[in-house]
Amino acid sequence: MNVKPDPASLKIERQVVGKGYAHDSARRHVRGEAIYIDDMPDLPGTLHVAPILSPVAHGKLAGVDTSNCAAAPGVVRVLTVDDIPGKNEAAPILHGEPIFADGLVEHQGQIIGAVVAQSLAEAIQAADLVKLDIEELEAVFDVETAFAANSHTHPTQHLVDGDAASAIADAQHRISGQLQMGGQDHFYLEGMVAYALPGEDREMLVWSSTQHPSEVQVHVALALGIKSHEVDVQVRRMGGAFGGKESQATIVAAIAALAANATGKPCRFRLRRDADMAATGKRHGFVMNYDLGLQANGRITGMKVEALANSGHVADLSGPVVTRTLTHLDNCYHIPAADFLGFAAKTNTVSNTAFRGFGGPQGIVATEAMIDIAARQLGLDPNEVRRVNYYGSETGEVTPYGQDVDDNRILDVVDRVMQNAEWDRRRKEIDAFNAENTILKKGLAMMPVKFGISFNLTALNQAGSLVHVYQDGSVHLNHGGTEMGQGLYTKVAQVVAEVFGLPLDDIKITPTTTGKVPNTSATAASSGSDLNGAAAFNAASAIKGRMAAFAAQEFGCDEADLVFANGQVAAGGQSMAFGELAHKCWFARISLSANGFYATPEIHWDGANLRGRPFFYYTYGAAVAEVVIDLLTGENRCLRADMVQDCGKPLNPTIDLGQIEGAFVQGMGWLTCEELWWDPSGKLRTVGPSTYKIPGSRDVPPEFNVEILDDKPNVHETVFRSKAIGEPPLMLAISVWLALRDAVSSLSGGKLAANLDAPATPERVLFAVEDMQRQVSELETK
């Protein structure tokens, strides 16, 4: 391993960074005073927009008759593709992904047009009056059909390292099979929304619930046929996003802007829950075809996987999602020979998109399932199979895509979680419980997670900030990151407060806007605080440097002797308030404003060959889950979860704890109760919380233990040596699904692997139980 020594600076006691401040908006949240976009007061003349959605999964759109709709009460305009003055383009990466369907509909719920009316109710009622002339075409809903037809939305990716086919063929043991896993709706509580205000000439101001204001800016400009500098996009906060508002907010914002442009009035466009769930993308469901070679001790010799993602009707972010799947199939395990094929299947369902983990969780689910299956076939403890395959000096420390695992903490997190969970004692207790109970069976499982931090595409790993110090010493902070509840604004403010030695309250957090910080990346990939925290650090440090030079002159001391702390600037026996220094700097004509920029160092990625160092660093975590299942109904429940998560030196441990707990529960939902269900015509029938069940408070394990590892600073130079936290803990919930498999396996004394896909609804569990009972009775009759 090649761990860098900790710089001496890390030993300094921090004043603001590292403290568990509450979310900056917590008081406003609980009082109902936090303003989301739909809460902004209506500007005079405001109009409301409702979408016209396709009732057909695939068809030629021969005509849209809007006459009845246009004549309905309150209707001001009806917009279709013909009303787009610029380009009908919403693709975040590729092109040809329409805002409004143009001659072709490719999924039920696709947006064909929009009704602009005096009230939302009038817009919704009128939208039902549109007459669509659609000539139905054959639709494809499953990825295997698309794979067989080589029908994809994004070029196929193939990560090859060594000769996996030979390694598997020559192995002592071999397992192969197929695993299916469903997608997941983001179910952010705040549905997609945008509010567009036309300005002078062609200017357009758009408030958008987006994780990616710069992308919204680009697409609004494209749609209106204007330049980016004529569009300003703002967002103070979102009511949850989870990746769902990374690329998919674009269409909503563009339609609001088109409506504002067409009517000259402020236009508000909010997708209500049913329309939001029908028209916007979700986590990709996958089919995984796997082939694994192993030695008798469980050591993997080669792994071949076909990862078939349900991309939906267009690519959106499916390309990089699949890349992340391929670069996380290794999880914590050294794979001597790998052959990973990633296929973004084109189907007539809504285009899937980013969702916390971004393809990584699906890769890790597949690998953990393979280990579970292999261990039982080999008669080994799954945790022993894990152990002989962990990255390390005895196995290897280079990933299939060529990155050194140079910050390895796998054994550390695994040993801690096994200890915290009291594994040995509970394993025995659970086995005893299972021996005594006939219809309730328990399961227990551990799994580790290694997750790569940075956008795979190197270019996206940049960020900007803008910091002003006013003459009273108060600080205005702006950066390109967006606040969706994850506490980014709080963390970045802590960084700036730390630099200036100010109390956190002296930092004013301001809404993200393209006019202050341009050309930003999405707040995504867990990178928000790494990127924006560093950019804000740089801006604040630049101002502080100028102030320090001046203060050193005033005090007649060396700059190095100055201490900025507790709102004071001091050296030797002299000190002055930070505000006084700010005022003096102004008087001396010293700039108190700076922009900051940050580009993640050391990373590079060859997308054609899937090789490089895509990730600045890795984070590590591990979890143990205990579940119980009911053999008569398949009902199941997680009884206890223990988690350990490496946070480097956390910027804010309270916020990190919230991210870990929330991600775990969200991941548990994905793998258990959350099921997307389409009827045979391709209509999604789970379009609201009455049919799509996310976890409720009673579903949280009654014993729910999290340990944040804050003992080791990030060995790589992140801001204050913290580590990313947004996505990695979601994958800790895979332990719940593995424990369910273990509970089903208990019917065979743990000898046979469960035939259980995801999500493990009661139905899937019951059928896995029946399958297991069949396997066991076959074995017994042999």
């Binding site: 509450a22 908006s25 609980v30 952010y188 009455s690 408070s697 009673r698």
Partner: protein, 471 residues
Amino acid sequence: MTNKISLVLNGETVKTDCRPDTTVLEWLRGERLLRGSKEGCAEGDCGACSVLVRRAGEENYSPANSCIMLMGQLEGGNLTTVEGLAASGPDGHEVQQVMAENGSSQCGFCTPGIVCSLAGLMDRNQSPSDSDIHDALAGNLCRCTGYRPIVEAAHAAAAAATAKSDVLQASKVDLDPADGVGDDGCRFYLPKTLQELVGLRAEHPDAELLAGGTDKALAVAHAKERWPKTISTRNVAELRAINTQDGAIHFGGATTWEEVLPHLEAHWPSFATLVRRFGSTQIRAMGTMAGNLANASPIGDGAPCLIALNASITLANQDGERTLPLDAFFLDYRKSALAADEVIKSVSVPLPTEGEAFRVYKISKRYDQDISTVCGAFNLKLTDGKVTSARIAYGGMAATPLRATSAEDALIGQDLHDAAVLQAAKQAIGSTFTPMTDMRGSAQYRAKVAVNLLDRYVRDISGETVEVMAL
């Protein structure tokens, strides 16, 4: 002429001439510019719109889903929102104080609704258990936090509160509700006697008959319907009563599930456990037993329980009353025997007799606040080890709630613990139903579970632990 709606909003008496079929959420956000309450789903499921409601004569506030509650339903009532709670002091209500400090909010969009639900819990229960808190939160979804800090905040706030929240006490004002509000464009009738109710029903056969509206009002919330005429059963004195007479409990047609719950707890604990999973606290505060039956949904959970309990239903019109056994009330998919001029006066449930063992099992993807994939209700009477009577009813297995009479026949007179008897009854269940496949489960799954639930019942009444939630 317009009869304005009178209510007490955050402690202040307000008269409004808004249409009575306006949703409370629409009115708060649109007319009052109180935008703390959010729309998350417009179907009474996510709880982001939760407010506190106290209707005339009630002791405590209950949380309610303002997205599916109509302004006419608030006539004479008290309404407290998150803004009203915040105004109760420099740091607001105890729940707000604790939640602001302990990481209970991330994105914050669900938070105002959660604040209202927990403040409502504290108004009824000053020392809630974990389970009470989960019951209170069953109608509030949070996608960010994983709930742990919210549950802890509920405990901490209850411990910190020395008395019931002042703001809630101070805003409890009894107004005398009018017997109708609105105008000719949109009239909302609130009759106070059964005679008035059936008279209005006869006079306005085109009017919407509204009990709690927790399912029916979704069409309004989704902007798919407007209701020019609505007749509410809520204030009809005869329909608000629950009494025990002649060996049965008679639940008036306007009694809510929350009001019914203690009686179920006393006589049929398994039914009470089911009802605590029935919608949410918000839904149970509004939704009525009669409304659940009138809805005639094949997946309503009230029907299979009440059919298994041999309940009867009394319908009234201007000419008088008629009483039907409940299983005769359901005619077809969402079609009941309720005539256009009739109302449900009461539902009568015979009290349990010695040897009766009632159990109901609801199978769904999520334990709380989900709609049943299969709901099976079993009521067997055992005398000296023999089954002397049997009523078994299912929801989710056919176009209506349905009895498994052939299974009942297979059991009556037999020894329940005889494997052959059980097998015959299970086969009878299997051949009774041809369930459908939908988003809640496949036909095969439903068929399998329906049969297995009889197995569970037999184990359950023998004292075996049969449910994962019991661990």
